[in-house]
């Protein structure tokens, strides 16, 4: 049995070796000498998972790295498992992690000994948008109708979202605060499951990311009401009939003053040197230049802001402060 496993390994190794002959000469001074572990602090099938697996595919297909990239899901404890793993891998430059908002929310809500400051920031790859969705058969065509109905329903409207005390529930809290309507928040295990519950009519609304709900929008079973960004999305491709992402109005323009964007960024283990950070920045710049990346951005209607270095570190610091305030207001802190 062991032989068979070694066979499978060497077969894989041979395939990668053949591939690497075509690789371009590397620019950076440091290079990975073993396989790079790419940690996802979330389950399979979610937004972070899809992005990380796409990156793995791009890196392999275009031979951007001489060593293989291995994607590992460490979703336990709302991602705490993954973050603690990276935190405890000081001076191991072969470990990187993709983040979502649980970088801030998990330590705040659970009190686990972890802070974003424990990791080395590499780059912001993009920001993920949030959209308010209702079932296509819902009578509410605009945000105003929807909120008025939610208020009239007197706290019986059901909002589904991913996880508890994470981004979806924070947005729900923000909507309640700015509109005065009350929702029952029902946590689900993942974005895909949330979308299916909305299609099945088991909940009234969601704040799914675009790519979690896009296939159901194309299938005509859900309807976007507004996007939680300061300006409309720039993608004009038609998705459902005449409508594209650019036809979704901002929530603010509809009288719902709430904005929220989620970090899709890369961090690495503590104690990384400048050369090592530089290597990964260059790697992700190459990833961003591929057509597959452009396709991912378009299908998920991402906000394509890219940041590295001090600018990125500052952005993260501001965002952490904001999450702390939002969660304190909602009573979500572990110490409360």
């Amino acid at each position: 049995m062991f032989n068979a496993r070694i066979c499978a390994r060497s077969f894989l190794g041979a395939a990668l070796l053949i591939g690497s002959f075509a690789a371009a000469p590397a620019v950076a001074a440091w290079e990975p000498t073993r396989p790079v572990e790419f940690i996802i602090p979330a389950g399979t099938g979610g937004g972070a998972d899809i992005m990380a697996r796409t990156i793995q595919g791009i890196v392999t297909k275009h031979n951007l790295m001489k060593q293989p990239m291995v994607v590992i899901n460490k979703a336990g404890g709302a991602g705490g498992e993954g973050f603690l793993d990276v935190k405890n891998s000081r001076n191991n430059p072969h470990k990187i992690v993709i983040t979502l908002s649980n970088l801030f929310t998990t330590p705040l809500a659970t009190g686990i000994p972890f802070s974003y400051k424990d990791l080395t920031p590499v780059a912001m790859l993009a920001l993920d948008e949030f959209i308010l969705w209702v079932n296509a058969s819902s009578p509410h065509k605009t945000v105003k109708d929807f909120l008025a109905a939610a208020k009239a329903a007197n706290g019986t409207f059901k909002m589904g979202g991913t996880g508890s005390k994470q981004e979806d529930q924070i947005i729900t809290e923000a909507i309640q605060k700015s509109s005065g309507a009350k929702f029952i928040y029902i946590p689900q295990s993942g974005g895909g499951a949330v979308a299916v519950q909305l299609v099945g009519g088991h909940i009234d609304s969601t704040v799914n990311n675009p790519n979690e709900a896009v296939s159901h929008w194309r299938g005509g079973s859900v309807r976007p009401l507004c996007v939680f960004d300061s300006k409309p999305l720039p993608y004009d491709e038609k998705i459902a009939g005449d409508l594209g992402w650019n036809s979704v109005p901002t929530c603010k323009s509809q009288g719902l003053d709430t904005e929220y964007l989620m970090l899709r960024g890369i961090f690495m283990s503590p104690g990384a040197t400048k050369d090592q950070v530089e290597y990964y920045i260059e790697l992700f710049k190459k990833v961003r230049a591929t057509p597959e990346w452009a396709d991912l951005m378009k299908s998920g209607a991402f906000n394509q802001t890219f940041m590295v270095g001090d600018e990125y570190a500052k952005w993260v610091a501001v965002e952490e402060k904001r999450h702390q305030d939002l969660m304190k207001d909602a009573g979500f802190l572990a110490s409360q």
Binding site: M1, A4, R5, C7, A8, L12, A15, T44, G45, D49, I50, R53, T54, Q56, G57, T60, K61, P68, V70, V71, K74, G76, G77, A78, G80, E81, L84, T105, A109, T110, I112, P113, T156, K158, G163, S164, Q166, I184, Y185, I186, P187, S189, G190, G192, A193, A195, V196, V199, G200, H202, I203, V214, S215, H216, R218, G219, S221, E292, D295, F332
Partner: protein
Amino acid sequence: MEEIGNLFTGFATVLRPFNIMVMVLGIVLGVVIGVLPGLGGANGVAILLPLTFSMSPTSAIIMLSCIYWGALFGGAITSILFNIPGEPWSVATTFDGHPMAQQGKAGEALTAAFTSSFVGALFAVVVITLIAPLVAKFALQFGPAEKFAVYFLAFCSFVGMSKEPPSKTVAAMMIGFALASVGLDSMTGQLRLTFGIETLLTGFDFLIAVIGLFGIGEILLTMEEGLSFKGKSAKINARVVWETWKELPRYWVTSLRSCIIGCWMGVTPAGATPASFMSYGIAKRLSKRGRNFGNGEIEGVVAPETAAHAAGTSALLPMLALGVPGSPTAAVLLGGLLIWGLQPGPMLFVEQKDFVWGLIASMYLGNIVGLIIVLTTVPLLAAILRIPFSIIAPIILVLCAIGAYTVHNSTFDVVMMLVFGVVGYLLKKCNYPLAPLVLAIVLGDKAEEAFRQSLLASQGSLGIFWSNGLVGTIMALGLIALFWTAIQTGWTRLAAKPAV
């Protein structure tokens, strides 16, 4: 009959020499992955995913789905030979499969397991071919309350159908529920029962518990019996496959029932694990030889394997049609689809017909190729048991340790595995059944999540579990299953009365 036409186009694509080669390679790799405990289908598919990038999407998905089939087949091998289930749905296979191996009938058990897997999967593929659109719609009706009802039914049928005293079954189940609640509480986002220990953050993984309870526990029991492994008498017999096949048609009723249970549980997103347990439990009650279940009854291998594979296969349909993966392996397959720009969801069947029907055609052929490949290995695998126990036991221990370690790459898990081994040994000595414990670890947190989601939605009213025909029917079935013994006794008395 448009579906049939599409299916034949699919067959034409799949039957190219290159694709058939890819298929054989995928099955062999899959079996290897399935045999190694802990590596599991999901990791295997993830490791091999990059291999497929140079292929066309259709060849690539054929390869990946064949790895999936291979891993499903392979899971039964370690369950039967060493009492170590590699996947949750192989647990029920150990109940009768391993005793058979101990009696020197490993060849028969493996043949029965592989053949039943094939029958179950084939039945599910036919169901997919014929009623794909209806099935997807049915899956949409499942909200939290309906999901809870399905789990409730699985737990109840286990208590009601079990031959052990209900008090012992319930006790074992409760230990399982307690273990399942360790870690993050998904409803409040707070940690439970971790006592500040970081390694408990993730809770108890099913695989570690099972490798310990079954694998290590079994080694301890055998050691107590004086290191004599009864499997020594296993004879290498190339004709064992034919001889078992002659016997199998006798169990067609069990087989058909298990297929239906499997498909139903696969489509309702409960999945393969409850399907295999339920099917085993019901077969135990209804079979004429039910009393002998657990002592190496071939029907006890047929029932769970058929249901697990029918469920595993039919679960791919909601994944393709709704984009929600039913198992970790399916999730990795989903990732593969996305890399080739195929967005799973309701439009996949409309916009990517070639791909979908190619995949379905490859399910038919992949299963046939898989069955042929695994059946040829049966005499070889059965011969493993001829190796003296004093040599094989350390190897099993090492395999168990590697398996437990690979789940989270943590040495703490290896320690946990040994602890579970001792617990498993003690429970067995006191005649507590292990299966309900395992079932509760696997499904406990999902059942809890569904229950609390339902109550959140209904604002605390239990009426939500009777609020529509679907959920009410499943709950009623659950209650009937729970009190089955009492109902049966009552019925016999009533029926006897007029005669008096």
